[in-house]
Symmetry: C3
Subunit: 354 residues, 3 copies
């Protein structure tokens, strides 16, 4: 069912693909619920294993449909027994003569599931363009032993997580030995480019001696300097691919070096809380399941022990105040995150004026 | 002390009897405190065992009187030692020359204790009409072994509990085997009547084969069909008698069948939280204490395990939004609860315009 | 760095010395953080052991500086590595060409550490007058075995704590045997004086038989009457010296009697929560460490078991309502606390109009 939602007061970009869940979070049987952009969303797989998403709220008395039962692809409301099909249409009303009121339907949302992620469109459905979903095919093409996906929850505004990934100079300061970049990023003014589709890229290149610990053992000469790079490509509203690599004796990271292919995306739960989705792959030790497990654990631990506490503390200090009204001091390393903020602000303003 | 309270901003009907507590909650000695309609209320029994109710707030510095001491029927404030009698008048001021300031008094509330419940009137005292307290004499007249009273607490708005009892079609869908009505209520358009004193009744009659599990063993032929009925009578602001029964080979439920006489009443603690009072009696196995205990436990469990989770989830979805602004889809089974909502809205509007 | 903060909306007097911490709370190494007047404040001791205080918020992205590292007297922000010296000036920017943006500085606050307390000035720095810090030299001059300092936290507005100390008639009613004044204070209209520098004193004199339990064993004749007094001197915004003593056969409390020299001061954390600082000394048993320990424990226990519960309950009853709008009944014992309220209200109004 297509129902025009009240976008005028939304603090979020509505006409955009957000990640709703990891593929593995929505199993074949259970009803899965998550609040996204202030709306409770029910997700489940129909009998063809496609993910269905609809407002997790019965239109009769607002009970969450996720408390209900599945009857095949149909959801029965727990409270008064209305049935809704996968299109959100009421298909059975056990009350009175059984006539179904015209307005008895649930908002559904377009879903695209690809490469381990479930993307959702919560804006005008005629604008939902599947071509705008990011290409993350590396997570499908690479063997499972070289791919990981994870989910984290943050008590901060989603834009602070985007700032964090767009300004990787923090890696010089915040992170422990595994990811430490030895002060090499901060002195640079990173290269920022505006790409098509409102995408923005930022890239740092540097030499580190020896290579960042994460890559060191994969270098031919573990104690010698390596050429390194990291490149992030943001796409509205809040997803970022991140490639980071090291190489010796070559300038071809992909074929001669060790490269990580990461992906960071956030979806606002509310204005104050954030769902954080993460994936990672690589071009080395691709068949090593145990290495894969340890690498994912190390990255998640770095995030939850190092980034998350500072992001949440930062947000407690900011409270509900507008970022710009707090008069932030701007540094050269903010060049990417500010470009992203201005682009996103512009997109939201355009959408709300439309 | 009669003090005109500020009713204009109250979201609740003020000129009405609400239940403040079960009789057994207020013992002979202790000071009992409960927030009702956003006001903290002190209750205790005077030496004649009558329940006294007054604002639980010293007029001097607003310390709760319930933290103080009893001196017979007089309450001594814990903080600065003022004494208030059971009429809320200050009868001792230990300060200075002991003169009692004119305004030094506590709001008291008319109380009627009857049939296991303590009713309170928090509006204009000249309008407090004892005749408007509901007749629940069955809970006094029946033997103790056939009567139970209980209290529950709900994190939802009080009107959602009223809706729940006024629309018993939910019993077809929400409840487990004990109370299940086998889909028989929903297809009916129940019979709604407006009675005197703004009371509204709703009634369903049906045949169930075999009878509802709760009644089955009390039927002459346990596996055969029984004639059943349930009738609820709401009275403003928020109390409902509920009779439900089964009979075979007769149309006289009272004399030939098994009937439960239940009572549900809610009192807002705040706009967001609700005190739920419940009583039950019956016309069968009236001397069986053990059956009585098990029946009460079963009913309370059905409520706390089945109704309460959906009511609280429903309220989390609704938040502070007005019921009508959420555009609820209306079903035939809402006929009673909507009549109640409109009646209560009208009474509140009339009271606030008066 | 002197940064004019936004005082117009502050509910607190800004141009005043508040206590930020006990001296012993800020050790030689650690970064100590506490929210004061709604602002997070970082405190630490520089290498000369002087206390430094600055806003606990990096001006770049608002991460708390207290999450960072000390490099001697310099603080390194945990997130992007900016360095701030003890004057709040940015002295190292690892980003880009290292140029330090003009606005890159942190608000610092004048500090005076004296007599076991760290005082902070959070208003206009040119008005910070060290002479206005209260003289508490007794806590430095007396031996350690006769001095104690402590900290408590209260979930109530700070003015309720001031009221509590300015109206000691509550000691007749609220407190257990140790501090009980046997109803002797309430009947008096205490003597209130306006002193210089907006200070206000209040004093009670009375005879108690036998003396208050705390002093009894220090009297020549433990079961006989003693002459007693208590005098409180408030100074804006929220500190009070309190002397209480007993004597027999003399009118010279100081030389012939037993006297406690207490100090109570509160600092708002927020409008709703309060830091409570306390010190005590005496003129008897001054070398008895064990007595000192027990006396401090007894006083802290009296406060946390007797005063704190009623102050917090009082605040829950008052909520965010203005004290005067609640129409408090005034008693003769309020004479000091009301004079203080009016003086403080006047000072805040004058400051906000300036």
């Amino acid at each position: 069912m297509i129902i025009t939602s009240d976008k005028t007061t939304s603090p979020f970009l509505r006409n955009a693909w957000y990640i709703a869940a990891l593929s593995k979070e929505v199993d074949d049987e259970a009803l899965f619920t998550r609040k996204l952009l202030n709306e409770s969303v029910l997700m489940y797989r129909n009998e063809a294993k496609q993910v269905i998403a609809m407002r997790d709220r019965c239109p009769h008395r607002f009970a969450p449909l996720s408390m209900g039962k599945r009857l095949g692809d149909v959801i029965q409301c727990h409270y008064h027994g209305l049935h809704f099909d996968a299109q959100g249409e009421c298909v059975h009303n056990p009350h009175g003569n059984g006539k179904i009121p015209k307005a008895c339907a649930v908002q559904t949302y377009p879903i695209i599931e690809r490469d381990g992620f479930i993307w959702i469109w919560m804006g005008d459905q005629e604008k939902a363009d599947a071509a705008m979903v990011r290409n993350l095919s590396i997570y499908t093409e690479n063997p499972e032993s070289a791919v990981g996906h994870d989910y984290m929850y943050n008590k901060c505004r989603y834009d602070l997580v985007v700032d964090n990934v767009m300004d990787l100079s923090h890696v010089d300061h915040l992170h422990g030995p595994l990811l430490n970049s030895a002060g090499k990023l901060s002195p640079q003014v990173p290269q920022v480019k505006e790409l098509d589709n409102n995408r923005i890229s930022i890239r740092w290149d540097w030499t580190q001696e020896p290579a960042m610990l994460l890559f060191r053992e994969h270098m031919p000469r573990t104690e010698d300097a390596a050429q390194m790079f990291v490149e992030v490509v943001w796409q509205a509203p809040a997803s970022m691919t991140l490639e980071v690599g090291a190489v010796q004796d070559s300038s071809d990271f992909t074929n001669d070096g060790a490269v990580l292919y990461d992906f960071h995306a956030v979806t606002p739960e509310t204005e104050h809380t954030t769902h954080y989705f993460f994936a990672s792959s690589r071009n080395y030790k691709m068949d090593d399941c145990e290495y894969n497990r340890m690498k994912m654990e190390g990255m998640i631990e770095a995030f939850t022990q190092e980034d998350k506490p500072v992001l949440e503390a930062q947000y407690r200090e900011m409270g509900d105040q507008d970022f710009w009204e707090l008069n932030p001091v701007l540094l050269s390393s903010d060049v990417g995150s500010l470009r992203v903020r201005r682009t996103l602000d512009k997109l939201i303003a355009e959408e709300q004026q439309a």
